[in-house]
């Protein structure tokens, strides 16, 4: 097994340990203060993976589903580390870590990561910008979906007056979750816009048109959601459900297109 896979495996194990300890703490009714450190360690290993893989490719490692998922997991971790501790959104790490683990486990499935990745020859800067910005955008949008799930859990507990669990005590307030969700949608939306523009500027084969059309459809959906929230307003539940559904839908779309 190559060094790149070792890095990715280590990142997966560290995120899994962070998720596990986080869940145990929450179950006991305590706030998990160590999750952020496990996630920092996982992030370092993700950087190691991307660095080794980038050298092999001599380009941004975004060729094939394995690399895209690993890059997406890195992007999700990056945004969690930028947003979670800074805005003191407790439990964001506990909810993010399992998603990171799932993405990376899929990336580690044999056959998803090329054994001997070929060097990218004649790479185009617009193409790299499109790939990198799009995957970064999905990191932000994935975190928005995570915040959405947290809101849905808290909303249900508040509505049904189930207020005794450790999870309830440690979840951040409704308003803070909704503000973070909206900011992450904006951030993801801006990054996705840059990715889409770069997509139109890059040289394309006929086969890539389907991918670009799917990307534009996803972009339009997110822009519609953000516009609706900003102009008309949306209940927290609908905003959260939309953020989760759109993210899952876009992953499914890109898995097939």
């Amino acid at each position: 097994m190559g060094m790149d896979r070792w890095f990715l495996l280590a990142a997966t194990l560290l995120a899994a340990v962070g998720a596990m300890f986080g869940m145990i703490s929450v179950h006991k009714g305590h706030r998990s203060r160590l999750t952020v450190f496990w996630m920092v360690a996982a992030f370092t290993c993700q950087l190691g993976f991307l660095s080794v893989r980038g050298q092999m490719r001599a380009a941004c490692p975004l060729v094939g589903i394995g690399e895209i998922l690993a890059f997406l997991a890195w992007s999700l971790t990056l945004f969690y580390l930028l947003v979670g501790p800074a805005y003191r959104i407790s439990l964001l790490g506990v909810f993010t870590a399992p998603v990171v683990v799932v993405f990376q486990v899929f990336a580690l499935v044999p056959g998803k990561l090329a054994e001997n990745p070929q060097r990218v020859i004649g790479g185009n800067p617009w193409h790299e910008t499109h790939s990198a910005m799009s995957v970064l955008a999905y990191g932000a949008l994935a975190l928005a979906a995570v915040a959405g799930v947290m809101f849905l859990v808290l909303d249900r507990q508040l509505k049904e007056h189930h207020l005794k669990s450790g999870l309830f005590r440690n979840l951040p307030p409704v308003r803070e979750l909704l503000i973070s969700l909206e900011r992450l949608l904006w951030l993801g939306g801006v990054l996705l816009t840059i990715g889409i523009i770069a997509g139109f500027l890059m040289p394309r084969t006929t086969g890539a048109n389907g991918h670009l059309i799917a990307a534009v459809a996803v972009w339009v959906s997110y822009v519609f959601l953000i516009g609706l929230k900003t102009v008309r307003g949306l209940t927290g539940r609908r905003l959260s459900l939309s953020a989760v559904a759109l993210f899952i839908l876009s992953l499914v779309v890109f898995a097939f297109v």
């Binding site: 508040l158 007056h161 005794k164 308003r175 927290g236």
Partner: protein, 336 residues
């Protein structure tokens, strides 16, 4: 040198007795100094809160010191000797244990309250600054603070709110976070509304609107709370902007219906709205709680949550006592 404690609290003395012995915070250091002189002791600390006044002393002879303080205090504040029936007297290890219980909130009127910790710390700090403490009391108080912290971190004695008002405020914070950006409307100027609204204001709520059938009463309460009075017929207009509604009118039927809240949802951009219904009969139609962004809590739910917290705290007492005994057994405190 022997450690002793003489005190009275909400269980042993009515307020008219407690207030005679109360010492204002700026005078705690001076009082500690006087106490040492009165009891002919070598060290002294005076703790005074709304529910208790306690004198901690280190003296050569505890029994003699008790007699001296009680006689001289009665003379000093002009009360007859019958007042001594309200005092409790503790010596050595029992006094140390009592201080640990006080600091941990186990002896408080509201079990597990945290304010007492700061009040005892302030009293000790004043005595220390006044030079009224020495080896015995310095060690005792520092250990008691350590034990108090351990009790609070290792048990859930302070978790959950034990009053309806505090439960409502905690829920408001769970929904809105810091309340500094939250606006509150009170429907009906009753006492419960006033208390709950005051709790919200004390935690930073930005503005208060009071709507009441009697506009004069609304103005009166609004002035008291630093808010604005609203004509009762205008409450729907105000609903567009507020985050929390506390309702406690004497109406015999519901006054807030689903349709009225539905009408303002668009103008509110579907922001979360928290209804606290503390009226009996209820002021808010339960169907209002079915609206997606509305969180509705009535008096029974709030009271049930407060009761659950009180029960949880009561169940923690044994564990707290065990920690106190265990910690005190480890220490060899002078004077005990």
């Amino acid at each position: 040198m022997e450690l002793l404690c003489l005190g009275l609290n909400h269980r042993t003395a009515p307020v008219e007795v407690r207030e005679r012995f109360a010492v204002v915070t700026p005078k705690l250091g001076e009082a500690a100094h006087e106490l040492v002189a009165l009891a002919e002791a070598s060290e002294g600390v005076v703790i005074s809160t709304c529910n208790r006044t306690e004198f901690y002393l280190a003296a050569e002879n505890a029994q003699a010191a008790f007699g001296l303080i009680e006689t001289r205090l009665a003379e000093k504040i002009h009360v007859d000797s019958s007042v001594s029936a309200h005092f409790y007297r503790m010596e050595k290890a029992e006094a140390a244990r009592h201080l640990c219980r006080v600091v941990s909130g186990l002896d408080s009127m509201m079990l597990g309250e945290t304010e007492i910790f700061g009040q005892v710390k302030q009293a000790y700090g004043a005595a220390l600054d006044a030079g009224a403490t020495g080896v015995v009391l310095n060690k005792l108080f520092q250990r008691a603070f350590g034990v108090g912290k351990k009790v609070r971190t290792e048990t859930s004695i302070q978790e959950g709110s034990t009053s309806v008002g505090n439960v409502a405020v905690d829920l408001a914070e769970k929904i809105f976070g810091h309340l500094k950006n939250s606006e509150v409307m009170i429907l009906g100027a009753g006492e419960m509304s006033r208390i709950t609204a005051q709790s919200l204001v004390s935690r930073g709520a930005r503005s208060i609107f009071v709507a009441n059938r009697s506009f004069d009463r609304a103005q009166e309460l609004a002035t008291e709370m630093g808010g604005s009075a609203v004509r009762f017929d205008d409450w729907q207009r105000v609903l567009e902007r507020v985050d929390v509604v506390i309702s406690s009118t004497g109406a015999p039927h519901a006054i807030v219906h689903r349709e009225e809240v539905e009408k303002v949802r668009r103008a509110r951009k579907y922001r979360p709205l928290f209804f606290i219904d503390i009226a009996v009969p209820r002021d808010i139609d339960p169907a209002v709680g079915e609206i997606e962004e509305v969180y509705l809590y009535d008096i029974d739910t709030l009271e049930q949550l407060a009761e659950e917290a009180r029960t949880r705290r009561l169940l923690q007492i044994q564990e707290c006592e065990r920690i106190i005994d265990h910690e005190l057994a480890k220490l060899k405190l002078p004077g005990t």
